[in-house]
Symmetry: C2
Subunit: 350 residues, 2 copies
């Protein structure tokens, strides 16, 4: 293993005096915190600090490991709950890193006074999600803090997976001409959470898209194998943030066609009313893939044939210029630059 | 992998209507929660729900994985801090499961408004502890919750380790006549935390014992190898709880000699004043081992020669009767039964 960096002279570039909600939103502020503080002080030099999962080689076995804390509010919402997210979110981070999820461990930070029924419902939700995703929960830990020191419950899951053979996923593998694939409609999760809070005088027939994307990833890998350059699940910060990170990391440009991006009318309408960009809204059951042009049709066909991939689409392509940028061509013929998420319009969505 | 249990007919024996602090204290109430709710609903049937780490066999590689959330209050205390505990606690769970710690991933739940200096100090503490323990931090995640929804910060770490060859640790391997070894003085951590809260009119020259026990475990394994039956780090609930779990699981009796149990005068004095049993007080840098009698002297010599093991001692032995019980022979010649921790005299000690 690579040792932790020496703490004697780390390049701490993070200068914000205190932590704000935006530092947990998965956008620009999160990136500054991770790259400016966590990575130089704590992370092994071989680590991709913003990747979905870390790679470990142990005795010739190639493993992926990923961890996430879940603090979503409310705990339950149409289509899912914190327990379900805690399993699917970790399963999906493994899947898009090109690994088959094998085992999960989970911890709970519980607030004293929490109703056992509430806890039991989430443990059941985790169990059902794990069974659906074909992954075993093999261990865990529970801590309890005084009433008022947590918001009912926080769950942390860590997943370990086995690398699927024949894949080499990396931003540096992306080439001009590659196609951008998206597994299905965007924004369902984030807008569902927003509406579930009941703070807006707005209703819509929407459900979170929380689910395991592994079956779709597996179908894609079967169809396109080494033609897959990169995958990511666009959770916090939406597809705009994931694709901006990719554009920056590969030094190329991503040109999206707005009308090709699948989106439900309810999401489009809510975003228009609220002044939100749907490209910034979190998803919990979708993934992005960059594939070589020769594989694009086979990849799309495979996604369409996989359960849950019916709405998959090619939403754009990779070009040389303008380097490091995401552009979207609108329905009206113009082009606009799509930035990473800045600030935190939707706190605690996962 | 073993699939998660079927949720259709689980045996939910946990009937407490709500979660109390004691459910996180590592004693009787924690055991009821884990065995009565988490294990039947969530954990794979092959899992030892109260073991320090789960075992995974992937492509012939034998791995250990363990996870813990850390919610200690205060964040900093003599001898350590939450960041240091978060690394050492997970390293130690791997070590006593007979695995060499290889990699750690970490998540942070931060309260909005937390001073960056406070976070940076803990990230540095983690980095230093990881370097000392020879383990790499390879990934992580950060969530932020509103001010008042967490107590500054909670850290969750998950560790993955590689099984040391030649070990077969299990309560069922324990035999009458085996010796009980302890690596050093008990109670330093718990009493240090208690005093650091400043709620008692009591002072003592004490520091937490937080450290990696892996070097001591490695020395023990080198000396006693397959003669080691079982190991455990007696954190929450102290050595009384760890040994009661063992006694119950192996169906034998553990006879301790009070005067042989290493303990500092400051811990003894504080416990007497406060009416606490030092056998129930948490440790963060000690471990218990059960070893075959033929190996006991070599094991003890190896611990004495290992850095930090100078105060290791044989504190008792395994007998047939009374089955499932821990007894301690006091300085005054009598014997008393030592129970698991009940309630939570020292909340949030890790």
């Amino acid at each position: 293993m690579t040792a932790a960096p020496d703490a004697g002279s780390p390049a701490i570039r993070f200068r914000d005096p205190q932590i704000e909600m935006a530092h947990g939103a998965g956008g620009m502020a999160s990136r500054r915190l991770v790259e400016g503080l966590f990575a130089p002080l704590l992370l092994a030099s071989s680590t991709d600090p913003l990747g979905d999962a870390a790679r470990l080689e142990l005795d010739g076995t190639s493993l992926a490991i990923t961890t996430d804390s879940f603090v979503v509010s409310p705990l339950r919402f149409p289509g899912g709950s914190i327990g379900e997210l805690a399993i699917n979110g970790t399963v999906n981070d493994l899947a898009v890193s090109g690994a088959r999820p094998e085992a999960i461990v989970a911890t709970f930070v519980l607030e004293a006074g929490l109703a056992t029924d509430t806890l039991e419902a989430e443990v059941r939700a985790m169990s059902q999600a794990a069974r659906r995703a074909g992954v075993a929960v093999v261990g865990g830990d529970t801590k309890v803090v005084e009433h008022g020191k947590a918001d009912r419950m926080y769950i942390t899951t860590t997943g370990i997976g086995r690398a699927l053979p024949g894949l080499s996923l990396h931003p540096a593998a992306v080439r001009a001409g590659d196609k951008v694939l998206l597994s299905g409609p965007i924004g369902d999760h984030g807008i569902t959470i927003l509406l579930a809070r009941g703070e807006l005088d707005l209703e819509a027939d929407l459900r979170s898209d929380t689910r395991s994307v592994f079956p779709m990833v597996e179908a894609l890998v079967h169809a396109a194998g080494p033609g897959i350059r990169w995958m990511r699940d666009p959770t916090r910060g939406g597809i705009a943030t994931s694709l901006n990170e990719l554009a920056r990391d590969c030094g190329l440009s991503l040109h999206l066609l707005e009308e090709s991006i699948p989106m439900r009318e309810a999401v489009r309408g809510a975003c228009e009313l609220l002044g939100l960009d749907p490209l910034h809204i979190a998803n919990e059951g979708q993934f992005l893939a960059i594939v070589a042009p020769a594989c694009a049709q086979a990849a799309l066909d495979a996604l369409h044939a996989a359960p849950g991939g019916e709405d998959a689409a090619v939403i754009g392509e990779v070009r040389e210029q303008p380097a490091g940028t995401v552009l979207v061509k609108t329905r009206y013929g113009g082009s606009r630059i799509v930035d990473m998420l800045v600030g935190d319009p939707l706190p605690r969505i996962c």
